[in-house]
Symmetry: D2
Subunit: 119 residues, 4 copies
C-alpha cells in the first residue's frame, strides 16, 4: 500500500464519521503535536540506551507503534487538507538539508550538530 | 517513490554525516515533537478558516510544507530505528479506531468527538 | 505562598522519592513539553469560544487546572535545577517584548501579530 | 514581586497592544505548547549530563531562560483567562501526587517511576 492509498484510507475514515468539520489545518496541527508529545512521553524518563528497541518491553513497543500511526494519520490528513505532496516535500527538504549541512563539514561534528538549530 | 525508498533516503543522509549517534529513539522523539510544535506555531494565532489553504500566503504554505517534511523525516527515522513498519502500524490503528468509533455512534456527534480523549 | 516556597515544595517532593536522578534538565524539558501538549489536547477540537471558561464543563476545567499545575511544577523544577530566577527572567522577557512590539506599532495590528514569530 | 503582580504585568502588556482578542484559551494553550517545545529543542541532541547548567554555554543558558519566561507568561495569561489560581492548583496537584506515589513505594523505584504515565 502506498502513501496515496493510506491517505485515502484515513480520509474515508473521517468522512464516514462526519469529522471533516473538525479537521481544519489549525486543529489537525494541534492533534499532530499532541500525538507527537504522547509518543515522546514514553521516552522521557529513559536513558538513551533504554530507549532502544531491544530495551523496550513488547507492551511499550506496541504503544509506541500506535502513537506513531496516530502521528502519521494526522500528517496525511493535513497534507490532504492543504494539498501538499508529502513525498515531494520530503525530497525537497532533504535537498535543502544536504546543501545546509555538506558532508565534509557536518561529519562527526557534534558541536556543529548540536548548534544547528541556533543558526 | 514509496515509503521504503524515502526512509532509505533519510537514513543515508544521516549515515553520511555520522549523525546516527545522535539519533537514539529518545532524541528522535524529541526532535519529532519539536518539529510538530513548529508546524503548529504557524497556525496558533489564526482562526480555523484563516488556517485553510486558500487563506495562507505562498510563503507560509511553503514553510508549512517544509515543517511537515521535517516531521515525516523524523517519523521515518524513528520507524527504522525501532524497526516499526509505518504502513502496517497505520492500518492497524485505523482498524482499532473503526472499532472504537463505529460510524453509527460517531457520525456528526461532536460531543462524543470532543470527549474522545477523556475516555 | 510565594514562588520560592512553591518551588521548595516541588523539590522536597522529588527528593523524598529519590527522583532527582531522573530530573536532568533534558528530561524535565521533555516532561514539561509533554504536559503542555496534554493541556492543549483539551482544546484541540473546540472552537475558540468553546474554549472559554464559561463554555467548559466543571470536569474539564478541573482537568485543565491540574494540567496547568503539572506544567508549573516542571517549570519550577527546571528553574531550580538550572538556577534560573523565574521572576527575573519573566520581567526581562516582558521588557524585551515591549521593545520589540511598541504599543503604537503593535496595537490592533493582527497581521503584525500573526507574523511575529516569522521575524 | 509575587505571582499576582507578575500576572498583572503580563496582562497589561497584552491589553495595551489589543492582543486580548487573540488570547482565547485555545490559542494560549497552543502558544504555551509551542514555547515548551522550543525550550526542549535546546536539549534534544545533548546527553543528560550535557544538559546540566555547568555544561551549557552562557548564550544557551540565556536563551533557555527567555524560553522559560515565555512559558511562564503564557501560563499566567491562561490562568487569568480561565480564572484558575495557579498556586492553589499546584498545591492541590502536589497533594494528589503525594497520595498516588507514597514515599515508601516510590523511593528509588525507577521501574515504578518510568511506568507512572502508563497507569
Amino acid at each position: 500500500m502506498n502513501l496515496v492509498e493510506l491517505l485515502e484510507h484515513a480520509r474515508q475514515f473521517a468522512i464516514e464519521r462526519d469529522w471533516e468539520q473538525y479537521h481544519s489545518p489549525k486543529n489537525l496541527s494541534m492533534a499532530l503535536a499532541g500525538e507527537a508529545a504522547e509518543l515522546m512521553e514514553h521516552f522521557q524518563w529513559l536513558t538513551t540506551s533504554e530507549s532502544e528497541r531491544e530495551a523496550l518491553s513488547a507492551k511499550t513497543l506496541s504503544d509506541i507503534e500506535l502513537e506513531m500511526a496516530d502521528i502519521f494519520i494526522y500528517l496525511l490528513r493535513l497534507s490532504e487538507r492543504l494539498d501538499i505532496d508529502l513525498t515531494d516535500a520530503t525530497l525537497k527538504k532533504i535537498a535543502i538539508n544536504a546543501e545546509k549541512y555538506p558532508v565534509e563539514l557536518a561529519k562527526g561534528n557534534a558541536v556543529k550538530y548540536n548548534r544547528r538549530d541556533d543558526e
